[in-house]
């Protein structure tokens, strides 16, 4: 019932009394940083005309706006000299570990989603959403295959006047490695470990789609619903997001530079190998 804080010498993140991440404190300055999971119900149509398309393997088409998954999150806090973690349980099929390593300047989110329940006959598309106080003015940035960052503007296209019929998916873009937003004071970037759909549907917020389970084909040829299973149950997906948060005017390295280095480390990671050493002692091994 009390607020929980974990962190290191660079930053602290706090969780409110309902168990949601709520603020981040860097250099003594506290900013809003809230994270939660929401889901979109997949649209279900007869696919005859464009407006009746179902959400499926080729199409993300939500039926209405997002649904919340819980009002309170269960926490388990682990603190130590090497890493501090908060294990969050949102519900039976969504959980996450938020961790801060002793010598890192970013926050790691390890999410675990699934099996997505479909007993109600409704497909669901799960999104991790971050909220900040940044006045981003509808502008956000998504990467192109881990390289150039492309400027995106909500409800806008650079080369024609758009009348968006799909207010949510019409603002979704491919995010291979990073999505970011900023204002003159703050910059927040979320790095992902695999290609995901992402957007910024309100100023200061970023979202990435982490998992989806749909029950109807979307009539683009595969003739199969996107309903992957493992061991007879809906697939469980696990992955990571890394959040780099900081003052826009930081001295070198700039926030973007820090993001680039982190991106390299996370997407070209060290290869881990394990060897059984049998009866050898350390000295023999050395």
């Amino acid at each position: 019932s009390e607020e929980v804080t974990i962190g290191n010498k660079y930053l602290n993140v706090s969780f409110d009394s309902n168990g949601f991440l709520s603020t981040i404190t860097i250099g003594g300055v506290t900013n809003r940083l809230r994270q939660t999971f929401v889901y979109y119900e997949g649209a279900l149509g007869n696919n005859e005309e464009m407006r009746n398309r179902s959400s499926g393997a080729y199409i993300f088409r939500p039926n209405g706006t997002e649904k919340t998954v819980t009002e309170t999150v269960q926490l388990r806090v682990v603190k130590g000299a090497t890493v501090q973690e908060v294990h969050q349980t949102f519900n039976e099929w969504i959980s996450q570990v938020v961790r801060v390593y002793a010598d890192e300047g970013h926050v790691e989110f390890e999410w675990l989603v699934g099996p997505i329940p479909v007993e109600d006959g409704i497909g669901k598309e799960v999104v991790s959403r971050f909220y900040t106080a940044a006045q981003s003015g509808g502008v956000f940035w998504t990467d192109a295959n881990g390289r150039e960052m492309i400027r995106r503007v909500r409800n806008h296209r650079d080369t024609w006047n758009i009348g968006l019929l799909e207010k949510i998916s019409g603002n979704y873009y491919p995010v291979t490695t990073k999505i970011a937003l900023e204002d003159e004071n703050l910059r927040v970037a979320v790095l992902n470990d695999r290609a995901q759909g992402g957007s910024s549907l309100q100023d200061g917020s970023l979202e990435l789609m982490v998992h989806r389970r749909l029950l109807h084909d979307d009539a683009f040829g595969v003739e199969e619903a996107l309903n992957e299973k493992a061991f007879g149950k809906g697939l469980v997906a696990r992955g990571k997001h890394w959040v780099v948060f900081g003052a826009k005017q930081s001295a070198s390295p700039t926030p973007e530079a820090r993001e680039r280095f982190l991106q390299n480390r996370m997407l070209l990671p060290n290869w881990l190998f394990f060897s059984d050493v049998g009866e050898s002692t350390y000295e023999e091994w050395q």
Partner: protein, 214 residues
């Protein structure tokens, strides 16, 4: 070369937009996963040879040299005599690794593919207890044992004895180079020894969950 060709062929097939976006039928997606797993596993033989050569330039691979092993049975072949096994654990993302869960002593080797020095907080699934981690200069590295979240422990297709992850900082990883750590499970004292002798009893929860792990 035959192992690398298996991966080349798999990657050739995966150029198809279906393989990249997941717009193929489920059984095709499963087959893509099977092809990739087999190909990456086949190349495990290549990384083992190369790492053994980096570790010990005098190392010459014994056993059937030059015979193209059919990658299909790369698991089946008794691997030629390697100085070090350099096994890969593909299920670290759900905290599962048979070798680190069952051995009291093992090494962890990190190969840094970047052109500049790196570091990483290593997480190794273990069944609990206390561990000593030393680098090649006999420097003991500080470690922390972190419980694996309930939601991971309860995954219905995770077959593992690990209940915790051993976390330690591997730093000064040389560019395009490797660094190894020697991990030993410590039996501290007699009562530890007695505790060791008995099968690990699940600890009785003390207080509610959060106080137990504070």
């Amino acid at each position: 070369e035959p192992h690398l060709n298996v991966l080349r062929e798999a990657m050739g097939v995966m150029q198809h937009h279906d393989a990249i976006t997941g717009t193929e039928k489920q059984h095709v997606a499963n087959d893509y996963a099977r092809m990739l797993h087999r190909a990456v596993g086949a190349c495990g033989a290549n990384t083992k040879v190369v790492l053994n050569q980096i570790v010990d330039p005098k190392f010459k691979r014994s056993g059937r040299s030059g015979q193209p092993q059919d990658a299909g049975d790369y698991h089946a072949q008794p691997s030629p005599v390697y100085k070090f096994g350099f096994e890969t654990c593909h299920l670290l993302n759900v905290s599962q690794c048979e070798l680190t869960e069952s051995k009291d002593s093992f090494t962890v080797t990190l190969y840094n593919p970047l052109a500049h020095a790196g570091h990483e907080y290593v997480r190794v699934p273990v069944p609990g207890g206390r561990y000593i981690v030393q680098d090649y200069r006999n420097v003991e590295v500080s470690t922390q044992l972190v419980p694996i979240p309930e939601s991971v422990l309860n995954l219905n297709y995770r077959f593992s004895n690990a209940t915790a992850e051993l976390v330690f900082l591997a730093n000064e990883l040389p560019p395009l180079g490797f660094k190894s750590y020697f991990v030993t499970r410590a039996v501290d004292s007699l009562d530890d020894f007695i505790h060791e002798a008995k099968p690990l009893q699940p600890e009785s929860p003390v207080g509610n969950d959060s106080t137990r792990w504070h």
